[in-house]
Amino acid sequence: MSHILTLCYLIGSITFIIGLKMLSHPAKARKGNLVAAVGMAIAIFGTIFLYEEDGNKLGNYIWIFSGLIIGTVVGTLIAKKVKMTAMPQMVSLFNGMGGACAALISVIEFQHIAHNLSNDGGIIHQGILVSIFLGAIIGSISFAGSMIAWGKLNGNIKDFAYGGQQVTNVGLMLVILGIAAYLLFSLSPENAYWFYIIFGVSLLYGVLFVMPIGGADMPVVISLLNSFTGVAAACGGFLYDNKVMLTGGILVGAAGTLLTILMCNAMNRSLKNVLLGSFGGGTKSNAGNKEQGSYKEISLNDAATVLAYSSKVMIVPGYGLAVAQAQHTCHELEKLLEEKGVEVKYAIHPVAGRMPGHMNVLLAEADVSYDKLLEMEEANDEFKNTDVVLILGANDVVNPAAKNDPSSPIYGMPILEVEQAKNVIVNKRSMKPGYAGIENDLFFQPKTSMLFGDAKAALQKLVAEIKNV
């Protein structure tokens, strides 16, 4: 019987690898997700029915199946109901669940060991103890961190920074590692309760670790916590000598780490910079002092006329569009302009929206055709032939300072070079800087005009105006 289980796990591991591979091709991605899901199901049901330890099969089927059913029903409902704009916090929430699951497994296994120890002074296997500790530490950090990230993206939790935050975090980590090392070499029934201190301090560490990081950096943090949970799952694989947990966990741990770095690169920031939060305060003040010219506003009527009589319009969607959930209205505008013979394309910056690739998902939801979305390089080639660029709630990704001003904190970040187009219309709610906290020279250039207002409301009015043109 256990041979069949080995086969199940082998199939599971292979489907995870193939699934991830297929997820990297737009045409095969959905199938890849399905392949991984089928592999997961095989591994799960194989475990339930075939797993044996010392010749004993698993029991408590009622508990296991009720847990599975509750989790499936609730998980499906949440996942089906969530709005596309709320996707990042959804991923964070599910990630936290996985982290908590890993931490709970460690707690139960530790209780087991502590129990055996007080009964007959059983031998402590240090390798097992290490993976229990790591599972508990990483799992709790991931859980607590993900919950904070989820709260921040939902707007329930505000950023909270305080002096000496890094010192506190390093101190907490030393406490965690110190206790873990102490228990590793001198675990006895008397000091077993120290384990729960590790558990508690790790939770606290997770909270303090994410608390000071700004809301706009959350995607990076979620991606990082995602890879943490992968490692925590792999600790479980070590604990049970279970190859599918090990391969799945490490695979996600490695891939998640790389994805985190890719996200940071796209924003031209180092991971250290994001995590230690040295970006906020300091740079804001000195960029704010810079002399700025005046900007000009454009009326809805004029904007409508300019758009309707252009031959080529490029739309640059950003965070503001995502927040206002204006993707459907945006598609409406696009269709209307196309009917009037205007060529409309979208220029997508890699980090537009709330996560890399998030904007593509949002526009796809609104039925925008896939071949209208231009990636940054393509778009930059086309701007010089473009009559009007319509910027919807994007800011830092079109800031020319990233190219011209070496003193700017975003200097070197790849941007959409919209100033090459003949006209630029910027829709923003106010003149407030974007999340990088710096002024944008683009707004003060002669060819730029500002259209203030919430992206959705402004687009709706614009659509109405264009119908009248």
């Binding site: 908590a100 699951c101 707690v107 799952a233 391969t247």
Partner: protein, 102 residues
């Protein structure tokens, strides 16, 4: 020192798997276009839900009078299932939208 060498010899297979998987994970993700970063993150999130297997083992081994283990294990199974099912369903929803266009 002897302890460490013993540990390595004892877990030789696992250490090989870990090292190879690290490289494989990086290799597989390396070619992903930025368009797919969000679904990919979500898909990877679902895959680490494989931790549910640990929860099932813990749950299945728990003695029927050990209520602490039963309750915590039950909770772990629910949370793990949420991670797996929620993760895959959300990823599928995102990717479904991409496909419709073609």
């Amino acid at each position: 020192m002897q302890n460490i060498l013993n540990l390595i010899t004892e877990h030789e297979q696992i250490i090989y798997i870990v090292i190879l998987m690290i490289f494989l994970g990086i290799e597989v993700i390396g070619k992903v276009p930025s368009v797919l970063h969000t679904p990919l993150m979500s898909g990877a999130n679902a895959i680490h839900g494989v931790v549910i297997i640990g929860a099932i083992i813990v749950m299945g081994k728990a003695e029927s009078d050990n209520y602490m283990a039963l309750i915590l294990g039950f909770l772990a199974v629910i949370l793990g299932t949420l991670n797996v099912v929620g993760g895959f369903v959300v990823t599928d929803r995102m990717l479904e939208m991409f496909k419709k266009k073609k």
